[in-house]
Symmetry: C2
Subunit: 154 residues, 2 copies
């Protein structure tokens, strides 16, 4: 790859991040394939699992994803019977989410496959390096980035 190609391109933090995400995503997807889950779905099931019947908004916030996107992503998981929703007792606007027994089982199954990929990855880059990378990524994700927004004088 000559000077003009990747280097110039990779100065963009966003593009570099997406590129890495596509690459790693395929790897984890492949690893999880036997379970029938995608990496994203696995992550979502796991997030639900470690939370306590979270509200949709809570999940969306934790994963930094759009609420409606979460709704869309949840649909196949509900359709396949891995997840179910129910209204909050005190606020009928709130919809809570939990794993079904099948969802729990599927997650357990996927966790085994995930471990293999995770270990493989960490063997390659080093557990320490991986942890640092994740920390850096979390920091980036939680940055309070905002466009100058046309600098309102007020």
């Amino acid at each position: 790859m000559n000077e003009a190609q990747k280097p110039g391109f990779s100065r963009c933090n966003n593009a570099t991040l997406r590129r890495a995400a596509r690459s790693l995503g395929r790897f984890y997807d492949d690893a999880l394939a036997p379970s029938g889950l995608k990496g994203t779905q696995f992550g979502l099931l796991f997030q639900i699992h470690v939370s306590d019947e979270p509200a949709m908004g809570t999940i969306a916030e934790a994963l930094i994803m759009d609420l409606s996107a979460l709704g869309h992503t949840l649909k196949p998981l509900i359709r396949d019977g891995y997840v179910e929703t129910f209204p909050d007792k005190d606020d009928r606007r709130v919809k809570r989410v939990r794993l079904t027994p099948q969802g729990q089982a599927k997650l357990d199954e996927a966790l085994k496959l995930w471990s293999v990929a995770q270990r493989q990855f960490e063997d390659k880059v080093g557990a320490e390096q991986a942890a640092k990378l994740r920390a850096a990524l979390d920091a980036v994700a939680d940055l309070d980035l905002e466009m100058p927004a046309a600098a309102p004088s007020v």
Copy 2:
């Protein structure tokens, strides 16, 4: 966010990466919004720009994306007149891609918006840190990760 939530989740390198990508993606998307381009489209136009009438396969390889995905992503850009394709002179299977004059203009326009976002980001995390992060991400993207693939004895 208590112990059970983000920390457990964020042990997954893939999930952490996607989360950061969603977050940063929105930031760059917002910045580019006035141009009408998404971050991905901007990246794609730029990649085409710095390459020399690349074949689709070449672009897909550089961006580590599926060839068919590239084809899909290219469609809106072609429809909007920013990009055009033409067959390779020597190999009729190969389809080459280039920016139209409008595409070039749009890229120039978007580059200004991109710079603002890029600068903003680097002011926050430090240019040095950002460069390190990109290097780490490129390293991850280019890792030769492969599943044991059921260890074929042959």
